[in-house]
Symmetry: C2
Subunit: 318 residues, 2 copies
Protein backbone atom coordinates (compact mmCIF):
# COMPACT_ATOMS: atom_id res chain seq x y z
CA UNK A 1 0.00 0.00 0.00
CA UNK A 2 2.94 2.25 0.52
CA UNK A 3 4.54 1.96 -2.88
CA UNK A 4 4.32 5.16 -4.84
CA UNK A 5 4.27 4.36 -8.50
CA UNK A 6 6.19 6.78 -10.60
CA UNK A 7 3.13 8.52 -11.99
CA UNK A 8 3.63 12.14 -11.08
CA UNK A 9 0.84 14.65 -10.72
CA UNK A 10 1.29 18.12 -12.13
CA UNK A 11 -0.58 20.72 -10.14
CA UNK A 12 -1.02 24.45 -10.56
CA UNK A 13 -2.54 26.82 -8.02
CA UNK A 14 -1.72 29.13 -5.18
CA UNK A 15 0.96 29.14 -2.51
CA UNK A 16 -0.10 31.62 0.12
CA UNK A 17 0.02 33.10 3.55
CA UNK A 18 -3.30 32.85 5.34
CA UNK A 19 -4.63 34.80 8.28
CA UNK A 20 -7.68 33.06 9.56
CA UNK A 21 -10.12 33.30 12.43
CA UNK A 22 -12.32 30.35 13.39
CA UNK A 23 -14.51 29.63 16.44
CA UNK A 24 -11.51 27.69 17.81
CA UNK A 25 -9.02 30.56 17.58
CA UNK A 26 -6.87 32.39 15.08
CA UNK A 27 -3.70 32.03 13.09
CA UNK A 28 -1.82 34.85 11.38
CA UNK A 29 0.39 34.69 8.30
CA UNK A 30 0.50 30.92 8.31
CA UNK A 31 1.32 28.73 5.32
CA UNK A 32 -1.62 28.11 3.02
CA UNK A 33 -2.64 28.03 -0.60
CA UNK A 34 -4.46 25.43 -2.63
CA UNK A 35 -1.41 23.62 -4.05
CA UNK A 36 0.22 23.60 -0.65
CA UNK A 37 -2.68 21.64 0.84
CA UNK A 38 -3.18 19.60 -2.29
CA UNK A 39 0.46 18.55 -2.57
CA UNK A 40 0.93 17.59 1.04
CA UNK A 41 -2.15 15.38 0.85
CA UNK A 42 -1.40 13.89 -2.57
CA UNK A 43 2.24 13.21 -1.76
CA UNK A 44 1.17 10.38 0.55
CA UNK A 45 0.22 8.56 -2.66
CA UNK A 46 2.16 9.92 -5.64
CA UNK A 47 5.04 12.22 -6.55
CA UNK A 48 4.00 15.81 -7.25
CA UNK A 49 5.27 18.63 -9.45
CA UNK A 50 4.04 22.08 -8.49
CA UNK A 51 3.63 25.08 -10.76
CA UNK A 52 3.06 28.23 -8.73
CA UNK A 53 4.53 31.57 -7.75
CA UNK A 54 5.70 32.85 -4.38
CA UNK A 55 7.23 36.13 -3.27
CA UNK A 56 10.75 36.55 -1.96
CA UNK A 57 9.24 36.51 1.54
CA UNK A 58 8.28 32.85 1.23
CA UNK A 59 10.21 30.56 3.61
CA UNK A 60 12.81 28.44 1.82
CA UNK A 61 12.56 25.99 4.68
CA UNK A 62 9.07 25.14 3.59
CA UNK A 63 10.12 24.55 0.00
CA UNK A 64 12.85 22.28 1.30
CA UNK A 65 10.30 20.47 3.43
CA UNK A 66 8.07 19.90 0.39
CA UNK A 67 11.05 18.55 -1.56
CA UNK A 68 11.69 15.98 1.11
CA UNK A 69 8.10 14.82 0.64
CA UNK A 70 8.77 13.96 -3.02
CA UNK A 71 7.19 17.21 -4.16
CA UNK A 72 9.12 18.83 -7.00
CA UNK A 73 9.27 22.57 -6.29
CA UNK A 74 11.47 23.49 -9.23
CA UNK A 75 8.43 24.84 -11.08
CA UNK A 76 7.67 27.31 -8.29
CA UNK A 77 8.70 30.77 -9.47
CA UNK A 78 10.13 33.07 -6.82
CA UNK A 79 9.14 36.61 -7.82
CA UNK A 80 10.23 39.91 -6.38
CA UNK A 81 7.58 41.03 -3.92
CA UNK A 82 5.16 39.54 -1.46
CA UNK A 83 3.44 36.17 -1.52
CA UNK A 84 -0.33 36.01 -2.06
CA UNK A 85 -2.14 36.68 1.23
CA UNK A 86 -5.68 35.57 2.13
CA UNK A 87 -7.52 36.86 5.18
CA UNK A 88 -10.69 35.05 6.11
CA UNK A 89 -12.91 33.85 8.87
CA UNK A 90 -15.44 31.15 9.65
CA UNK A 91 -18.38 31.60 11.95
CA UNK A 92 -20.24 28.69 13.49
CA UNK A 93 -21.18 27.55 10.00
CA UNK A 94 -17.82 26.01 9.32
CA UNK A 95 -18.81 25.06 5.80
CA UNK A 96 -18.38 28.58 4.49
CA UNK A 97 -15.33 30.81 4.57
CA UNK A 98 -15.87 34.54 4.56
CA UNK A 99 -13.08 36.34 2.74
CA UNK A 100 -12.14 39.54 4.56
CA UNK A 101 -9.24 40.56 2.35
CA UNK A 102 -7.17 39.25 -0.51
CA UNK A 103 -3.77 40.61 -1.45
CA UNK A 104 -2.82 38.99 -4.75
CA UNK A 105 0.73 40.40 -4.63
CA UNK A 106 3.04 38.38 -6.91
CA UNK A 107 0.08 36.20 -7.86
CA UNK A 108 -1.40 39.08 -9.85
CA UNK A 109 1.05 38.64 -12.71
CA UNK A 110 1.43 34.89 -12.44
CA UNK A 111 2.25 33.42 -15.82
CA UNK A 112 2.48 29.67 -15.39
CA UNK A 113 5.40 28.34 -17.44
CA UNK A 114 6.07 24.65 -17.22
CA UNK A 115 9.70 23.49 -17.03
CA UNK A 116 10.43 20.78 -19.61
CA UNK A 117 10.60 18.26 -16.77
CA UNK A 118 6.95 19.00 -15.93
CA UNK A 119 5.40 18.58 -19.36
CA UNK A 120 4.96 14.82 -19.36
CA UNK A 121 2.93 14.33 -16.18
CA UNK A 122 0.11 11.88 -16.91
CA UNK A 123 -2.16 13.33 -14.23
CA UNK A 124 -2.97 17.03 -13.88
CA UNK A 125 -4.76 18.85 -11.08
CA UNK A 126 -5.86 22.40 -11.79
CA UNK A 127 -6.45 23.96 -8.39
CA UNK A 128 -8.87 26.80 -7.92
CA UNK A 129 -7.37 29.67 -9.97
CA UNK A 130 -8.34 31.76 -12.99
CA UNK A 131 -9.62 29.34 -15.65
CA UNK A 132 -7.49 31.15 -18.21
CA UNK A 133 -4.39 30.06 -16.31
CA UNK A 134 -5.83 26.56 -15.94
CA UNK A 135 -6.15 26.31 -19.71
CA UNK A 136 -2.66 27.76 -20.24
CA UNK A 137 -1.24 24.98 -18.10
CA UNK A 138 -3.20 22.27 -19.89
CA UNK A 139 -1.92 23.61 -23.22
CA UNK A 140 1.65 23.02 -22.11
CA UNK A 141 1.19 19.38 -21.13
CA UNK A 142 2.16 16.81 -23.77
CA UNK A 143 -0.85 14.55 -23.55
CA UNK A 144 -2.34 13.56 -20.25
CA UNK A 145 -4.35 10.64 -19.04
CA UNK A 146 -6.46 12.34 -16.40
CA UNK A 147 -7.31 15.97 -15.64
CA UNK A 148 -8.96 17.00 -12.40
CA UNK A 149 -10.02 20.52 -11.54
CA UNK A 150 -11.42 22.71 -8.78
CA UNK A 151 -13.18 26.07 -9.16
CA UNK A 152 -15.31 28.51 -7.19
CA UNK A 153 -18.15 31.03 -7.41
CA UNK A 154 -15.71 33.86 -8.20
CA UNK A 155 -14.81 32.26 -11.54
CA UNK A 156 -18.25 30.76 -12.20
CA UNK A 157 -19.78 34.21 -12.20
CA UNK A 158 -16.71 36.21 -13.24
CA UNK A 159 -15.34 34.14 -16.12
CA UNK A 160 -18.10 31.74 -17.11
CA UNK A 161 -17.07 31.23 -20.75
CA UNK A 162 -13.39 30.80 -19.88
CA UNK A 163 -14.32 28.29 -17.18
CA UNK A 164 -16.47 26.40 -19.64
CA UNK A 165 -13.53 26.17 -22.03
CA UNK A 166 -11.46 24.62 -19.26
CA UNK A 167 -14.23 22.26 -18.20
CA UNK A 168 -14.44 20.75 -21.68
CA UNK A 169 -11.03 19.23 -21.07
CA UNK A 170 -11.61 18.09 -17.48
CA UNK A 171 -12.35 14.50 -16.43
CA UNK A 172 -13.07 15.12 -12.76
CA UNK A 173 -14.44 18.29 -11.23
CA UNK A 174 -14.35 18.82 -7.45
CA UNK A 175 -16.67 21.57 -6.41
CA UNK A 176 -18.71 22.78 -3.44
CA UNK A 177 -22.44 22.18 -3.25
CA UNK A 178 -23.38 25.86 -3.62
CA UNK A 179 -20.98 26.26 -6.51
CA UNK A 180 -22.41 23.20 -8.23
CA UNK A 181 -25.87 24.76 -8.00
CA UNK A 182 -24.50 28.07 -9.30
CA UNK A 183 -22.64 26.48 -12.20
CA UNK A 184 -25.55 24.29 -13.26
CA UNK A 185 -28.44 26.59 -12.38
CA UNK A 186 -30.09 23.59 -10.75
CA UNK A 187 -31.20 23.06 -7.17
CA UNK A 188 -30.80 19.35 -6.60
CA UNK A 189 -27.50 17.51 -6.38
CA UNK A 190 -28.22 14.93 -9.03
CA UNK A 191 -29.65 17.35 -11.57
CA UNK A 192 -26.71 19.68 -11.00
CA UNK A 193 -24.23 16.88 -11.50
CA UNK A 194 -25.92 15.53 -14.62
CA UNK A 195 -25.94 19.00 -16.15
CA UNK A 196 -22.30 19.65 -15.33
CA UNK A 197 -21.45 16.33 -16.97
CA UNK A 198 -22.75 17.75 -20.24
CA UNK A 199 -20.21 20.58 -19.89
CA UNK A 200 -17.28 18.19 -20.03
CA UNK A 201 -16.35 16.54 -16.74
CA UNK A 202 -17.72 13.00 -16.78
CA UNK A 203 -17.06 12.78 -13.07
CA UNK A 204 -18.06 15.27 -10.40
CA UNK A 205 -17.47 15.32 -6.69
CA UNK A 206 -19.79 17.72 -4.89
CA UNK A 207 -18.35 18.64 -1.52
CA UNK A 208 -20.77 19.35 1.34
CA UNK A 209 -18.39 20.19 4.18
CA UNK A 210 -19.31 18.52 7.46
CA UNK A 211 -22.08 16.65 5.65
CA UNK A 212 -19.78 14.73 3.35
CA UNK A 213 -19.77 14.58 -0.42
CA UNK A 214 -21.52 13.12 -3.42
CA UNK A 215 -19.73 11.52 -6.36
CA UNK A 216 -21.30 11.21 -9.77
CA UNK A 217 -19.66 9.06 -12.41
CA UNK A 218 -21.09 7.95 -15.75
CA UNK A 219 -22.05 4.79 -13.90
CA UNK A 220 -23.83 5.99 -10.78
CA UNK A 221 -23.88 8.07 -7.64
CA UNK A 222 -22.02 7.56 -4.38
CA UNK A 223 -22.98 9.41 -1.22
CA UNK A 224 -20.25 9.67 1.38
CA UNK A 225 -20.72 11.10 4.86
CA UNK A 226 -17.98 13.13 6.51
CA UNK A 227 -15.84 11.50 9.17
CA UNK A 228 -16.93 12.47 12.70
CA UNK A 229 -14.62 15.04 14.25
CA UNK A 230 -15.08 16.25 17.81
CA UNK A 231 -13.76 19.74 17.22
CA UNK A 232 -13.01 21.46 13.95
CA UNK A 233 -10.08 23.81 14.45
CA UNK A 234 -9.79 25.30 10.97
CA UNK A 235 -11.65 24.19 7.83
CA UNK A 236 -9.16 25.95 5.53
CA UNK A 237 -7.65 23.53 3.04
CA UNK A 238 -10.23 20.79 3.62
CA UNK A 239 -11.31 20.87 -0.01
CA UNK A 240 -7.79 21.09 -1.41
CA UNK A 241 -6.49 18.24 0.72
CA UNK A 242 -9.62 16.23 -0.10
CA UNK A 243 -8.76 16.67 -3.78
CA UNK A 244 -5.13 15.82 -2.99
CA UNK A 245 -6.02 12.43 -1.57
CA UNK A 246 -8.54 11.75 -4.34
CA UNK A 247 -6.20 12.60 -7.19
CA UNK A 248 -3.18 11.11 -5.40
CA UNK A 249 -5.01 7.82 -4.93
CA UNK A 250 -6.19 7.83 -8.55
CA UNK A 251 -2.67 8.50 -9.84
CA UNK A 252 -1.21 5.80 -7.61
CA UNK A 253 -3.73 3.31 -8.92
CA UNK A 254 -3.22 4.07 -12.58
CA UNK A 255 -6.52 5.81 -13.26
CA UNK A 256 -6.84 6.93 -16.89
CA UNK A 257 -9.86 8.32 -18.66
CA UNK A 258 -9.80 5.33 -21.06
CA UNK A 259 -10.90 3.17 -18.15
CA UNK A 260 -14.31 4.84 -18.14
CA UNK A 261 -15.05 3.09 -21.42
CA UNK A 262 -13.25 -0.21 -20.91
CA UNK A 263 -14.24 -0.85 -17.32
CA UNK A 264 -16.96 1.56 -16.22
CA UNK A 265 -17.71 -0.43 -13.08
CA UNK A 266 -14.08 -0.65 -12.03
CA UNK A 267 -13.73 3.06 -12.70
CA UNK A 268 -16.76 3.88 -10.58
CA UNK A 269 -15.47 1.78 -7.70
CA UNK A 270 -11.99 3.31 -7.98
CA UNK A 271 -13.48 6.79 -7.66
CA UNK A 272 -15.62 5.75 -4.69
CA UNK A 273 -12.52 4.52 -2.90
CA UNK A 274 -10.75 7.75 -3.82
CA UNK A 275 -13.59 9.76 -2.25
CA UNK A 276 -13.18 7.75 0.95
CA UNK A 277 -9.49 8.70 1.07
CA UNK A 278 -10.36 12.32 0.32
CA UNK A 279 -12.87 12.40 3.15
CA UNK A 280 -10.46 10.95 5.66
CA UNK A 281 -7.66 13.28 4.55
CA UNK A 282 -9.88 16.34 4.96
CA UNK A 283 -10.85 15.17 8.45
CA UNK A 284 -7.19 15.41 9.48
CA UNK A 285 -6.63 18.77 7.80
CA UNK A 286 -9.35 20.49 9.81
CA UNK A 287 -7.98 19.30 13.14
CA UNK A 288 -5.29 21.97 13.14
CA UNK A 289 -4.62 25.41 11.73
CA UNK A 290 -2.81 25.73 8.42
CA UNK A 291 -0.97 22.64 7.24
CA UNK A 292 -0.12 21.72 10.84
CA UNK A 293 -1.69 18.29 10.83
CA UNK A 294 -0.83 17.44 7.22
CA UNK A 295 2.87 18.03 7.84
CA UNK A 296 3.08 15.15 10.29
CA UNK A 297 0.36 12.88 8.94
CA UNK A 298 1.56 9.40 8.01
CA UNK A 299 0.08 6.93 5.60
CA UNK A 300 -0.44 4.58 8.54
CA UNK A 301 -2.53 7.12 10.42
CA UNK A 302 -4.54 7.72 7.30
CA UNK A 303 -5.16 4.01 6.76
CA UNK A 304 -6.13 3.52 10.38
CA UNK A 305 -8.78 6.23 10.27
CA UNK A 306 -9.95 4.98 6.89
CA UNK A 307 -10.70 1.60 8.48
CA UNK A 308 -12.76 3.27 11.19
CA UNK A 309 -14.57 5.35 8.58
CA UNK A 310 -15.38 2.33 6.43
CA UNK A 311 -17.04 0.74 9.47
CA UNK A 312 -19.10 3.88 10.02
CA UNK A 313 -20.43 3.58 6.48
CA UNK A 314 -21.10 -0.12 6.29
CA UNK A 315 -24.46 -1.81 6.53
CA UNK A 316 -25.19 -5.47 5.81
CA UNK A 317 -27.83 -6.49 3.31
CA UNK A 318 -29.96 -9.05 5.10
Amino acid sequence: MNSKKNRPILTVGSMAFDSVRTPAGRADQVLGGSVNYFSLAASLFSPIKIVAVVGDDFPKDHLNFLSRRDIDVSGIQVAKGKTFHWVGEYDTNLNEAKTLATALNVFEHFDPKLPESHKDCPVVFLANIDPVLQTQVLNQVNGHELVACDSMNFWITGKPSELKETLKRVDLLCINEKEAFLLSDEKSLEKAARKIQTMGPSNIIIKRGEYGSALFTPNGAFLAPAYLIDEVIDPTGAGDSFAGAVVGYLAENGAKRDMMKHDPNGWDQLLRRAVVYGTVMASFTIQDFSIGRLKTLSREELMHRREKFMKMMSVSQA
Copy 2:
Protein backbone atom coordinates in the same frame (compact mmCIF):
# COMPACT_ATOMS: atom_id res chain seq x y z
CA MET B 1 -40.05 -9.98 3.29
CA ASN B 2 -43.74 -9.16 3.31
CA SER B 3 -44.82 -11.16 6.32
CA LYS B 4 -45.85 -8.97 9.20
CA LYS B 5 -45.18 -10.79 12.42
CA ASN B 6 -47.80 -10.23 15.05
CA ARG B 7 -45.71 -7.88 17.15
CA PRO B 8 -47.78 -4.75 17.39
CA ILE B 9 -46.39 -1.31 18.04
CA LEU B 10 -48.18 0.97 20.44
CA THR B 11 -47.78 4.61 19.50
CA VAL B 12 -48.96 7.82 21.09
CA GLY B 13 -48.80 11.28 19.55
CA SER B 14 -50.75 13.78 17.52
CA MET B 15 -53.36 13.46 14.81
CA ALA B 16 -53.69 16.84 13.18
CA PHE B 17 -54.68 19.11 10.39
CA ASP B 18 -51.72 20.91 8.86
CA SER B 19 -51.59 24.03 6.78
CA VAL B 20 -48.19 24.29 5.23
CA ARG B 21 -46.31 26.45 2.78
CA THR B 22 -43.14 25.21 1.09
CA PRO B 23 -41.09 26.51 -1.86
CA ALA B 24 -43.05 24.00 -3.97
CA GLY B 25 -46.51 25.27 -3.04
CA ARG B 26 -49.05 25.12 -0.25
CA ALA B 27 -51.61 22.80 1.29
CA ASP B 28 -54.38 23.84 3.66
CA GLN B 29 -56.05 21.79 6.35
CA VAL B 30 -54.54 18.55 5.16
CA LEU B 31 -54.08 15.41 7.25
CA GLY B 32 -51.00 15.44 9.43
CA GLY B 33 -49.79 14.65 12.92
CA SER B 34 -46.89 12.61 14.16
CA VAL B 35 -48.74 9.32 14.70
CA ASN B 36 -50.45 9.66 11.38
CA TYR B 37 -47.11 9.73 9.55
CA PHE B 38 -45.53 7.24 11.92
CA SER B 39 -48.32 4.69 11.58
CA LEU B 40 -48.62 4.82 7.83
CA ALA B 41 -44.87 4.20 7.55
CA ALA B 42 -44.66 1.55 10.27
CA SER B 43 -47.69 -0.34 9.01
CA LEU B 44 -45.68 -1.54 6.00
CA PHE B 45 -43.80 -3.66 8.57
CA SER B 46 -45.90 -4.29 11.66
CA PRO B 47 -49.43 -3.88 13.04
CA ILE B 48 -49.99 -0.61 14.89
CA LYS B 49 -52.18 0.54 17.76
CA ILE B 50 -52.63 4.29 18.02
CA VAL B 51 -53.39 6.29 21.15
CA ALA B 52 -54.39 9.85 20.25
CA VAL B 53 -57.23 12.33 20.27
CA VAL B 54 -59.08 13.97 17.39
CA GLY B 55 -61.95 16.43 17.25
CA ASP B 56 -65.38 15.67 15.88
CA ASP B 57 -64.30 17.39 12.66
CA PHE B 58 -61.81 14.62 11.88
CA PRO B 59 -62.75 12.58 8.79
CA LYS B 60 -64.01 9.10 9.64
CA ASP B 61 -62.95 8.02 6.17
CA HIS B 62 -59.37 8.48 7.18
CA LEU B 63 -59.77 6.40 10.34
CA ASN B 64 -61.34 3.70 8.18
CA PHE B 65 -58.45 3.94 5.79
CA LEU B 66 -55.98 3.48 8.64
CA SER B 67 -57.92 0.44 9.87
CA ARG B 68 -57.59 -1.19 6.48
CA ARG B 69 -53.82 -0.75 6.80
CA ASP B 70 -53.77 -2.93 9.96
CA ILE B 71 -53.68 0.16 12.17
CA ASP B 72 -55.90 -0.19 15.23
CA VAL B 73 -57.69 3.14 15.71
CA SER B 74 -59.87 2.03 18.63
CA GLY B 75 -57.57 3.91 21.01
CA ILE B 76 -58.15 7.22 19.21
CA GLN B 77 -60.51 9.31 21.33
CA VAL B 78 -62.98 11.47 19.45
CA ALA B 79 -63.53 14.58 21.58
CA LYS B 80 -66.06 17.36 21.17
CA GLY B 81 -64.33 20.23 19.40
CA LYS B 82 -61.71 20.77 16.76
CA THR B 83 -58.71 18.66 15.89
CA PHE B 84 -55.21 19.98 16.62
CA HIS B 85 -54.11 22.36 13.84
CA TRP B 86 -50.54 23.23 12.91
CA VAL B 87 -49.65 26.07 10.56
CA GLY B 88 -46.09 26.18 9.34
CA GLU B 89 -43.78 27.01 6.51
CA TYR B 90 -40.41 26.05 5.12
CA ASP B 91 -38.14 28.43 3.28
CA THR B 92 -35.31 27.26 1.05
CA ASN B 93 -33.73 25.62 4.09
CA LEU B 94 -36.02 22.63 4.00
CA ASN B 95 -34.46 21.18 7.11
CA GLU B 96 -36.28 23.56 9.42
CA ALA B 97 -39.98 24.15 9.81
CA LYS B 98 -41.11 27.53 11.01
CA THR B 99 -44.26 27.27 13.11
CA LEU B 100 -46.62 30.15 12.31
CA ALA B 101 -49.51 29.07 14.51
CA THR B 102 -50.59 26.15 16.65
CA ALA B 103 -54.17 25.56 17.74
CA LEU B 104 -54.06 22.74 20.29
CA ASN B 105 -57.87 22.44 20.36
CA VAL B 106 -58.89 19.01 21.70
CA PHE B 107 -55.22 18.14 22.14
CA GLU B 108 -55.01 20.60 25.04
CA HIS B 109 -56.80 18.27 27.43
CA PHE B 110 -55.53 15.02 25.96
CA ASP B 111 -55.40 12.35 28.64
CA PRO B 112 -54.01 9.22 27.04
CA LYS B 113 -55.89 6.20 28.35
CA LEU B 114 -54.93 2.83 26.95
CA PRO B 115 -57.69 0.35 26.14
CA GLU B 116 -57.00 -3.09 27.69
CA SER B 117 -56.27 -4.39 24.20
CA HIS B 118 -53.36 -1.92 23.89
CA LYS B 119 -51.54 -2.69 27.12
CA ASP B 120 -49.52 -5.66 25.97
CA CYS B 121 -47.73 -4.20 22.97
CA PRO B 122 -44.07 -5.29 23.08
CA VAL B 123 -42.87 -2.24 21.18
CA VAL B 124 -43.75 1.34 22.07
CA PHE B 125 -43.14 4.54 20.11
CA LEU B 126 -43.63 7.80 21.97
CA ALA B 127 -44.02 10.45 19.28
CA ASN B 128 -43.13 14.05 19.90
CA ILE B 129 -45.56 15.17 22.64
CA ASP B 130 -45.37 16.41 26.23
CA PRO B 131 -42.96 14.09 28.07
CA VAL B 132 -45.48 13.89 30.92
CA LEU B 133 -47.93 12.22 28.54
CA GLN B 134 -45.14 10.00 27.20
CA THR B 135 -44.48 8.74 30.72
CA GLN B 136 -48.20 8.29 31.42
CA VAL B 137 -48.44 6.00 28.42
CA LEU B 138 -45.37 4.01 29.41
CA ASN B 139 -46.86 3.54 32.89
CA GLN B 140 -49.89 1.83 31.39
CA VAL B 141 -47.97 -0.73 29.35
CA ASN B 142 -47.52 -4.16 30.99
CA GLY B 143 -43.87 -4.69 30.32
CA HIS B 144 -42.35 -3.86 26.96
CA GLU B 145 -39.37 -5.08 25.03
CA LEU B 146 -38.42 -1.91 23.25
CA VAL B 147 -39.26 1.77 23.71
CA ALA B 148 -38.48 4.39 21.09
CA CYS B 149 -39.10 8.09 21.46
CA ASP B 150 -39.00 11.42 19.64
CA SER B 151 -38.84 14.88 21.18
CA MET B 152 -38.13 18.48 20.24
CA ASN B 153 -36.65 21.79 21.43
CA PHE B 154 -40.00 22.88 22.89
CA TRP B 155 -39.85 20.08 25.50
CA ILE B 156 -36.08 20.09 25.90
CA THR B 157 -36.19 23.69 27.08
CA GLY B 158 -39.74 23.72 28.46
CA LYS B 159 -39.87 20.47 30.45
CA PRO B 160 -36.28 19.31 30.83
CA SER B 161 -36.72 17.32 34.05
CA GLU B 162 -39.90 15.63 32.82
CA LEU B 163 -38.19 14.76 29.56
CA LYS B 164 -35.24 13.30 31.44
CA GLU B 165 -37.62 11.08 33.41
CA THR B 166 -39.01 9.74 30.16
CA LEU B 167 -35.58 9.29 28.61
CA LYS B 168 -34.47 7.01 31.45
CA ARG B 169 -36.94 4.43 30.13
CA VAL B 170 -36.19 4.85 26.43
CA ASP B 171 -34.03 2.47 24.37
CA LEU B 172 -33.93 4.46 21.14
CA LEU B 173 -34.19 8.21 20.78
CA CYS B 174 -34.79 9.80 17.37
CA ILE B 175 -33.96 13.46 17.42
CA ASN B 176 -32.88 16.30 15.13
CA GLU B 177 -29.29 17.47 15.05
CA LYS B 178 -30.01 20.87 16.59
CA GLU B 179 -32.12 19.25 19.30
CA ALA B 180 -29.38 16.75 20.07
CA PHE B 181 -26.97 19.64 20.59
CA LEU B 182 -29.52 21.44 22.76
CA LEU B 183 -30.30 18.38 24.88
CA SER B 184 -26.65 17.46 25.39
CA ASP B 185 -25.12 20.92 25.50
CA GLU B 186 -22.45 19.60 23.14
CA LYS B 187 -21.48 20.77 19.66
CA SER B 188 -20.29 17.64 17.93
CA LEU B 189 -22.47 14.73 16.90
CA GLU B 190 -20.53 12.02 18.65
CA LYS B 191 -20.10 13.89 21.93
CA ALA B 192 -23.79 14.77 21.90
CA ALA B 193 -24.77 11.17 21.32
CA ARG B 194 -22.44 9.78 23.97
CA LYS B 195 -23.81 12.24 26.52
CA ILE B 196 -27.43 11.47 25.66
CA GLN B 197 -26.62 7.79 26.11
CA THR B 198 -25.83 8.51 29.75
CA MET B 199 -29.37 9.92 30.13
CA GLY B 200 -30.95 6.58 29.27
CA PRO B 201 -31.31 5.82 25.58
CA SER B 202 -28.54 3.41 24.61
CA ASN B 203 -29.31 4.12 20.99
CA ILE B 204 -29.68 7.46 19.32
CA ILE B 205 -30.51 8.43 15.78
CA ILE B 206 -29.61 12.02 15.00
CA LYS B 207 -31.56 13.24 11.99
CA ARG B 208 -29.91 15.79 9.68
CA GLY B 209 -32.62 16.35 7.10
CA GLU B 210 -31.30 16.39 3.55
CA TYR B 211 -27.88 15.43 4.86
CA GLY B 212 -28.95 12.08 6.27
CA SER B 213 -28.60 10.77 9.78
CA ALA B 214 -26.18 9.35 12.30
CA LEU B 215 -26.87 6.30 14.44
CA PHE B 216 -25.08 5.65 17.70
CA THR B 217 -25.43 2.29 19.39
CA PRO B 218 -23.41 0.92 22.32
CA ASN B 219 -21.33 -0.74 19.63
CA GLY B 220 -20.47 2.01 17.21
CA ALA B 221 -21.56 4.79 14.89
CA PHE B 222 -23.25 4.56 11.49
CA LEU B 223 -23.42 7.53 9.15
CA ALA B 224 -26.17 7.40 6.56
CA PRO B 225 -26.63 9.91 3.77
CA ALA B 226 -30.09 10.94 2.63
CA TYR B 227 -31.52 9.48 -0.54
CA LEU B 228 -31.22 11.88 -3.49
CA ILE B 229 -34.52 13.54 -4.33
CA ASP B 230 -34.89 15.89 -7.30
CA GLU B 231 -37.54 18.08 -5.75
CA VAL B 232 -38.72 18.17 -2.16
CA ILE B 233 -42.41 19.04 -2.11
CA ASP B 234 -43.05 19.08 1.64
CA PRO B 235 -40.66 17.97 4.39
CA THR B 236 -43.48 17.66 6.95
CA GLY B 237 -43.61 14.18 8.43
CA ALA B 238 -40.16 13.17 7.21
CA GLY B 239 -38.95 12.55 10.76
CA ASP B 240 -42.11 10.76 11.89
CA SER B 241 -42.20 8.46 8.88
CA PHE B 242 -38.45 7.87 9.26
CA ALA B 243 -39.15 6.71 12.81
CA GLY B 244 -42.10 4.67 11.54
CA ALA B 245 -39.94 2.65 9.20
CA VAL B 246 -37.17 2.30 11.79
CA VAL B 247 -39.45 1.10 14.58
CA GLY B 248 -41.64 -0.91 12.20
CA TYR B 249 -38.61 -2.75 10.86
CA LEU B 250 -37.29 -3.37 14.37
CA ALA B 251 -40.65 -4.73 15.54
CA GLU B 252 -40.96 -6.95 12.47
CA ASN B 253 -37.52 -8.36 13.13
CA GLY B 254 -38.03 -9.10 16.80
CA ALA B 255 -35.76 -6.40 18.21
CA LYS B 256 -35.68 -6.47 22.03
CA ARG B 257 -33.44 -4.54 24.34
CA ASP B 258 -32.02 -7.85 25.67
CA MET B 259 -30.32 -8.29 22.34
CA MET B 260 -27.97 -5.39 23.09
CA LYS B 261 -26.31 -7.58 25.69
CA HIS B 262 -26.52 -10.98 24.05
CA ASP B 263 -25.63 -9.98 20.52
CA PRO B 264 -24.32 -6.41 20.44
CA ASN B 265 -23.03 -6.77 16.90
CA GLY B 266 -26.28 -8.20 15.58
CA TRP B 267 -28.14 -5.43 17.36
CA ASP B 268 -25.93 -2.77 15.83
CA GLN B 269 -26.40 -4.19 12.33
CA LEU B 270 -30.16 -4.50 12.83
CA LEU B 271 -30.34 -0.82 13.74
CA ARG B 272 -28.20 0.16 10.75
CA ARG B 273 -30.59 -1.64 8.43
CA ALA B 274 -33.51 0.02 10.20
CA VAL B 275 -31.94 3.44 9.55
CA VAL B 276 -31.68 2.59 5.86
CA TYR B 277 -35.41 1.82 5.78
CA GLY B 278 -36.13 5.01 7.68
CA THR B 279 -34.11 7.06 5.21
CA VAL B 280 -35.85 5.58 2.20
CA MET B 281 -39.29 5.98 3.79
CA ALA B 282 -38.64 9.67 4.52
CA SER B 283 -37.53 10.20 0.93
CA PHE B 284 -40.99 9.13 -0.25
CA THR B 285 -42.82 11.21 2.35
CA ILE B 286 -41.28 14.46 1.18
CA GLN B 287 -42.24 13.91 -2.44
CA ASP B 288 -45.81 15.01 -1.80
CA PHE B 289 -47.79 17.19 0.58
CA SER B 290 -49.31 15.63 3.67
CA ILE B 291 -49.54 11.83 3.67
CA GLY B 292 -50.18 11.83 -0.08
CA ARG B 293 -47.29 9.60 -1.02
CA LEU B 294 -47.42 7.38 2.06
CA LYS B 295 -51.04 6.46 1.39
CA THR B 296 -50.19 4.72 -1.85
CA LEU B 297 -46.65 3.55 -1.09
CA SER B 298 -46.15 -0.20 -1.40
CA ARG B 299 -43.57 -2.40 0.23
CA GLU B 300 -42.31 -3.25 -3.25
CA GLU B 301 -41.67 0.40 -4.09
CA LEU B 302 -39.89 0.80 -0.79
CA MET B 303 -37.69 -2.24 -1.40
CA HIS B 304 -36.86 -1.10 -4.91
CA ARG B 305 -35.66 2.31 -3.76
CA ARG B 306 -33.80 0.70 -0.87
CA GLU B 307 -31.79 -1.33 -3.38
CA LYS B 308 -30.87 1.82 -5.26
CA PHE B 309 -29.95 3.54 -2.01
CA MET B 310 -27.75 0.66 -0.87
CA LYS B 311 -25.80 1.00 -4.13
CA MET B 312 -25.35 4.71 -3.50
CA MET B 313 -23.75 3.93 -0.14
CA SER B 314 -21.54 1.04 -1.09
CA VAL B 315 -17.81 1.13 -1.59
CA SER B 316 -15.52 -1.86 -2.01
CA GLN B 317 -12.51 -2.36 0.23
CA ALA B 318 -9.63 -3.05 -2.11
